[in-house]
Structure formats: C-alpha cells, structure tokens
C-alpha cells in the first residue's frame, strides 16, 4: 500500500522546507521530496554561499583601505581555494540543519525526483531508479528555478559559467564578463572586482539592476565604474567564442557598435527560469506560463490539490518570498485564521554588492505612473554622521509616500548595511504606518538608519540635517 500524506512538498528549499514545517506544526502528516541536497539553491548555491564569498570580498576591500585609519599591512596573501572552502562549509552546515529540522518536526524526507502521476498521486524516482508512489491530499510544488540560458551562450562549467561555477572557481579569474545585472550578476561583479578580477558587466536593459529605482541603479553604476568595472547597458552578447585559454566576446550596443574583447571567464546571470519540467504538470492540467506555474492568491494551481510556491510560481524569485508563500499556502489549506494574500510588490529586494541595495514597493517611475499625488524624500549619507565615521558615506535613502493617505508606496536604499535596515520600512508598511507615524519614531543616534528617518522628514518637507 502506498504511503498517504496530508501534505507532500516537492523541493526542500526555503519554500519547501518551510511549508513542510508549517504543515507539521498544524498536525498534518507531511513529507518532503528532495532530489539533491536539503535546503535547495538558497542554502547550497545561492543566498548563503554568495554571502560567504562577499564577506571575503569585504575583507579585501578593508585591507585595500587601511591607510586612512593609520594601518598598513604587507605580505597579505589570498587563496581563493580557502575562501571557497569556507563558503562550502557554511552551506554544508546549514543543509545539515534542515535535516535536523525535518526530523524534529516529524517530517518524512523522501530522496528522489518527484512526478505527478495523477491527482493526489506522486511518483518518486530514487537514485537507484527505483520508483515509489505516494498519495497526498495536498501537493505543494516548491521546485525552484535555475539559470536562464542566453541564445548563443552555452555554459560549459569551465570558461562559460553559471552561478554554480562562479561559487566554486578553481582559481581567481583574471577577467570576467558578466551577462545580466540583476542581483546575481551585480553581486558576482562586485565580489570578483573586490578580489582583484577585471570585470565587465553587460545588461540588455537601459539601466543596470532593471527592477530597481533609476536613481539607485544610477548610483550603483557610478560606484562600480569608479572601481573600474566596465558597464554596457542596452547591450547584448552577439558572438561568443570559447578558446583554450580565453573567451572572445562581441558585445553589441543599442547603437549597433560592436565592442570585442577577450576575457578569462564569462558568467551567465541573465535571469532564471522555473523548474517545471518532468513533473507531469501538463498531463495533470497544471498551467505553466512563460516558464512559471500559474497560481492564484492562495498559491493554488489550476489542478485540484496542487499548489506552487516560491521561484517556480514566478517573480520575485527570492528566498523570503518563497518562505512567506509557504506559510501562507499551508495556513490557508489548514484553515488558519487571518491568512492574507501576498502583495508581491511589497516583498523586499536585497542586493549584497558593495554598495548594498535594498528596496520595497514601487519605484519612483511606477509610483508616478499610478497618477497618485506623491511625497518623495531623499537623504544622502554624506550628511550621516555614522556613515562618515565608518568611511562609507556613499549612498542614500529615498522614500515615496501617497500624499493624500500617507501610505508608504516605496522605499529605496543604497549604502552600507541597508539590507539590515529595509525591515524597518517593511514593518511600517505591514502596520500601515503613515509618513507622520514614521516621523514620530525616535531613531537612535548615531546610526545608519537615521537616514531612513531623515528621508521620511524630507518627504514631509521638514528635514533637519540637510
């Protein structure tokens, strides 16, 4: 007889494992299917290991800027292999942690690749090709996503990388051309530049970081260019030839000019696509639109008893969005009170480059397009005592409010540790705080987050420190 579960989750990333734990907390009999390592991309090949490498890059940056503080260092050596080792050990530790959490919550972990056989029936093919069948009232797809391919650019794991390869280089490349300037592309461009690689960034859209506010993207671009990163926007790779020791790349700009260069490595970071293949979706009538599963506000797909959360359910493809949808989806099906649909516009986005970027809600352009009367404030970190004291006074905080309701429509931050500060605006938004409410908050001094306060005051037309 096949095992019968209340909830079966396919994939154990930040969507899947959270969904499984939440289901178990509701007292539902739960299993999670994983074909690779527990924790998914986030833990093993995404958020976490890149942060470890970026931490190394920050150290490189600090070492390069000792002088103003009176230090000098000589004989500093760098071993890329050791940094990669550190990054992998962090991932390994967290992945083991997920195994522990599954056990603690009484969740069965099924190893293998899942496929929907019928409504409520999943077949799992294990590594040894053996197939087992499982039944479940609720099947949650949390299969994630993978790098999207670019025409004419075939990742080979050696000269042409995806983020998988960029996380475990055998040596530091002398030069690197990054295709795509979303969070992944920008983070790798920044960290490899800090470690000493000559970096070129190619973006097909008119601005880098296309989803971010134009002012933020412009600021990052200037900072990057100051550091020697070459940037081509409105440009694409028209030709790519992999040689034995180098890659020859032709970049075509919007005006038709072609810029040819030879680089050590190429990183393809032109977005991601959902893992929707070989799941039996089509046979079951699960609708897929442009590579992502179509879902409603409760994460239900078009097929009975099948749900999708996280990357596979579409943008924004972020770990915290996946985890949030996991809880939302499970709470809803479990009948919990006060479940609210997710407003995807207000999922915060963070890019851990130098400088960091964090944002929430509408860009100024999108806010203007709503036709609402706006109050916009911006505060520059050049006027922030704390930012000056730590020698990182490049950046700003921009806030956009609806002038009539006082509702926070957008917050855009660039500068040191802004990824830790954006939650403040998230809380404000979630509690429906108005600009006036935020103005009344006492912000501790001296902190970087005081800039958030000043930005709100600026939006209200009464900044103090500028």
């Amino acid at each position: 007889m096949t095992e019968k579960y209340d909830v079966l989750v396919v994939g154990s990333g930040p969507g899947g494992y959270v969904a499984a734990i939440r289901a178990a907390q509701h007292g539902l009999r739960t299993a999670v299917v994983e074909r690779d390592r527990l924790g998914g991309i986030c833990l093993n090949w995404g958020c976490i290991p890149t942060k470890a490498l970026l931490h190394g890059a920050d150290v490189a940056h600090t070492l390069a800027n000792l002088r103003p503080l009176g230090f000098s260092a000589s004989g500093v050596k760098f071993d890329m292999g050791r940094l990669v080792e550190f990054s992998r050990s962090v991932s390994g530790r967290l992945s083991d942690g997920i195994g522990y959490l599954m056990k603690k919550n009484g969740i069965d972990v099924v190893r293998g690749s899942a496929r929907l056989l019928d409504k409520g029936v999943v077949a799992v093919t294990a590594a040894d090709e053996s197939v087992s069948e499982y039944r479940a009232d609720h099947i949650i797809l949390a299969t994630g996503a993978r790098p999207r391919s670019v025409p004419g650019v075939v990742p080979d794991g050696d000269r042409v990388w995806t983020y998988f390869d960029a996380l475990v280089p055998s040596e530091l490349p002398k030069s690197l051309l990054v295709i795509g300037s979303g969070a992944i592309g920008v983070e790798f461009a920044s960290l490899y530049n800090d470690l000493g690689t000559d970096v070129t960034l190619v973006e097909v859209a008119p601005q880098i970081m296309p989803v971010e506010d134009a002012a933020v993207a412009g600021h990052v671009r200037r900072q990057f260019e100051k550091r020697g990163i070459r940037i081509h926007t409105g440009a694409s790779v028209s030709e790519l030839t992999v040689g034995t020791n180098a890659v020859t790349v032709a970049v075509r700009s919007a005006d038709g000019t072609i810029d040819e260069s030879t680089v050590d490595r190429v990183l393809v970071a032109a977005g991601i696509q959902g893992n929707v293949e070989d799941l039996g979706l089509e046979e079951l009538g699960v609708e897929v639109d442009r590579g992502f599963v179509t879902t409603d506000q409760w994460c239900r797909t078009t097929a009975f008893g099948v749900y999708a959360i996280g990357d596979v359910a579409g943008a924004p493809c972020l770990a915290h969005k996946a985890s949030h949808e996991a809880v939302l989806c499970v709470d809803r099906l479990a009948g919990a009170d006060h479940v609210r649909p997710l407003d995807r516009d207000y999922v915060p986005g963070c890019t851990y480059a130098r400088p960091q970027v964090a944002s929430l809600g509408l860009t100024e352009e999108r806010a203007r397009a709503t036709g609402r009367r706006l109050q916009i404030g911006q505060f520059d970190l050049q006027a922030s005592g704390k930012a000056l004291a730590i020698g990182e006074a490049d950046g700003f905080v921009k806030t956009i409010f609806d002038a009539d309701s006082g509702e926070l429509l957008g917050a855009h931050m660039v500068g040191p540790d802004v990824t830790e500060q954006i939650q403040g605006f998230g809380i404000a938004r979630s509690l429906e705080a108005t600009a006036d409410d935020l103005a009344e908050v006492v912000f501790a001094h001296p902190t970087l987050s005081e800039a958030m306060h000043e930005s709100v005051l600026a939006a209200l037309g009464r900044p103090i420190n500028m």
């Binding site: 209340d6 509701h26 007292g27 539902l28 409504k119 409520g120 009232d137 609720h138 079951l284 009538g285 699960v286 609708e287 078009t302 097929a303 009975f304 008893g305 099906l333 479990a334 009948g335 919990a336 009170d337």
Partner: protein
Amino acid sequence: MSEIKLIEVPKWGLSMEEGTVAEWLVEEGASFSKGDLICEIETSKIANQLEAPFDGVLRRVVAKAGETLPVGAVLAVSAEAAVSDAEIEEFLAGIGADQVPAPAESGRSPGGQPTVAQPDLESSPPAPAAHESVPATGAATGSRPRPGATIVPDALRGRTNGDVFATPHARRLADELSIDLARVTGTGREGRISVADLHDSIRAAGGTVAPPQSPTRSGVPGRSFEDDTAVPATPVARRLAASLGINLHDCRATGSRGRVCEADVREAERRFRLQPEVVAAPEPAAEAEFETIPFTAMRRAIGQRLQESKRSAPHFRLTADLQIDDLLALRTKINATVPAVKLSVNDFVVKACAAALRKVPDVNVQFDEATQSVLRYASADISVAVALPSGLITPIVRGADGKTLAEISGEVQSLVTKAKTGKLTADEFQGGTFTVSNLGMFDVREFDAIINPPQGAILAVGAGQERPVVVDGQVVARTMLTVTLSCDHRVIDGALGATFLRELRRFVESPALMLV
C-alpha cells in the same frame, strides 16, 4: 471592582459542556493584558486558545494542564500584587474552593446555594449553635439566617473613622459590612488589617463569615453546602464523601437505583482536585501490562453522544447493493477532463444523498426530544464522518443539494484538512441533517452506523468491489457498493427509509441525474 478576579472555562459554542486544559501559556506570577492568550483549552471537538478577558497578574493556576472542567469552572485566579497569597487562599476557599460547579445535567440543582450577591446582615449574633443545627431533612431554614450568611456581631459595628492601616480590600469589605476597622486587630506587616483579619475578628466576636461570592463570577454556582443526608448514596460513597469533604449534591449518581457510588465521589474529587490524583504504584508481578489513556474531550463527546443515540433512538437498518460501474466511468471521465476537479466516490455518494433527501424530505429531519416533534429541514446539510487519530468528527457540507459535485468535493477536502488541524469552527461541524460514513478505503464490505443525534438517519458506505451478479439469468461481474441506512424509528418508518434508498439508487446508478 475587586482586585481578585477569576478566569473561568469559557463556553465556546452551544454544545460545549466542558473543556480540558491543554497547556498554560502564561506562567504563575506573570502579568498579562486583555486579549493575551492565557491557556489552550481542548473541547469535545476543537482546541482553542483562551484570551484574557481583562488585564491582570496570574496569581494562582487552579486547573493544571490535562484536567477537564465544566464550563464556568475556575481555571485561575488573577489579582494585583498588593493582594496577599493568604487572601487568595481564603477567596478560593470561600467560593467553594479550587473548584467547579456541579454539572448542570446532574438534575439536582443545589437549591440551598447562597445566591445573594450582598452578604446577609443580621444585627444581632444568633446563638453560635444556630448555624450548626441545620435541619436533617434539608428543608427550608425559614427565617433563620442561612448557614452561608455573614453575621457581624454588634461589638464590631460602626463606621471607620480616620487613619486605619488596612488593605483596600479590607477597607471596602468593612464599609460593606458596617464594621469599624478601629475595632479590628491587624496582623499584617506594621499592623496592617487584611480581609483575613476582618474575618478573624468577626469569628472571635461570635459572628459568622459567609463564603464570599465573587462579584466577577459570571453566575456560576460554587460547591454545594446544603445538607446532603437525603441524597441516595452507597455507604462507601457516603463515608468517602464525608472524609473528603465532598457534598453528595456535587456528585453524579451513576450507581444502582440512581445512587451516588464510590466512582462518582472519586470523579467529583478529581473535578474539585481536593487531592492530587493518586497514581497507583504498579503491581510488582504477574499483572497484565496495560497503559491507562485518559479520555480526551473528543473521546468523551463521542462516547456520550453515541451512547445516548444508541440508547434512546430505536435503530433499524436497511441495506442495499448499488451498482456503480456508470458512476466510476463518469468519475474517471470528469477527473481526466477537468484539472481543477478531483471527485471521489464518496463525493458522488454525498451528492446522491443530498439529491435523494430533496426527493424524500421526510428523511431530512432531526428529532426534537424536548418538544416531541420532528424538525424537517429544507436544505440537505450532509455531515461527513472524518476519522482522526484522536477520534471522529463530522464536518458538514451545507446545502449539498444545491451544490455541484466539484463544489462538494472541494469543500469536503478543505473540511477534512481543517478537521485534522483542529481548525473547524463550531458552525462547520455542529448541526447537519444527515450523515454519510464511509469505510470503503479500508476495504470494508458493509457495516452499519449509529445515528449522529439529533439526526434521523445515517448512511454507512462500504467499498466498491467487483462482485458476481445475475443479469438476465447470466452471472456477470459488476462493481457493487453496499450501503446501509440506519434510521431512528421514532421519526422514520421502514417504508420511508426504503423510499429514500430507492431514490439514492436511482441517482447512484444513473449518475447523470446528479449533473442536471
């Protein structure tokens, strides 16, 4: 209001009679605000969290986790820090202790219970013997002060003037009783007068002290105090009750000839928690090993309701074999064609029952024992029995006769999951006009079910199986489903039940009828 307040077992839903404390969420000594979650209470069918009805400090947990108490029983005491532990003790002892009212269904309402909100006042102290010589018959005590009344001796009477060091409680009580606090000796720190000192003085001067009635108690009776000598009880029960200080009025009477027996006193003892439960030491040898699993609230509800049904509703059963090959073919076709729908055989059965009930509304009934009448319902609200690890619950598909198969199927799945997570609301499982119980997934061929009171009938559904049947003189294989209808003969007669089954067969064997 009084600084001593009680937190009591709430009443969630009409059928809730008692609740089991699952877990305390606030620790003794901790303060809480109105709306904070105080503890988790499991009722017969749901687990829910109790919100604090006011701000306070949890001074005393009366009901420990795992204990079952009737609605209105005291769970905990809240009081300000200024109130001493001794005052809380006294308060608890006064309201009839760490305990609970007699269950309402006991039928013996404690008539002698002091019901006055204000303490009875007598201007002169009666002879001390007066409140001891309660008539043995338990008859009314006439004009004499009730044993529960507070009697203030003249020696203490007066109005408190000027500076007297007393607790706010004591000061208020003294005002109420017209006592001059200057005549009372304080034993608190620096001679501060507490409520206990006040009571001691009253007693010392020859008066009596009533068991206080809490102004914050919501009309819940405390323990009985009146004479219980006339209550029929076994000798063992009577002696045990006396030694435990339990009034026989507070015991159920499940013994022979309606007498209170030993088990009833033990049960009352547990309810009042006069003693911690004594766990019998395991016998050293030769005893068969077993595990004692206390009834959960849900088990108890199942037991009570179904025992009541089986005992009072005269059941008769009608069994029919239904051919479901067409139904299965239709099901396969629908499931293969419509992604958003997954119909089970049971979904079809629920729909067919609803359709048949619409044709034979006299089966869509409840029996109202109180008025000796039949309640016939216009809408077929089908209860669907769901097995849980902890028991059984019957969430309801309301108005199933007006819903499509897809709607019924989606609703049933949602209700089943909510049943498992304990998130069903009272409205989702209380009521219903007819029940479907299906054990087909366990390959049970056929069974009969006990009627879900106060409904009039229940359909027990077995497994669809290929069986040899005779068609036109030939033995052929057909998929058959055996169903058994249990009816309450008080409201449904044999021919009526049979008519319902005939309609049910029509829908099940020609499933297209359910789609139009």
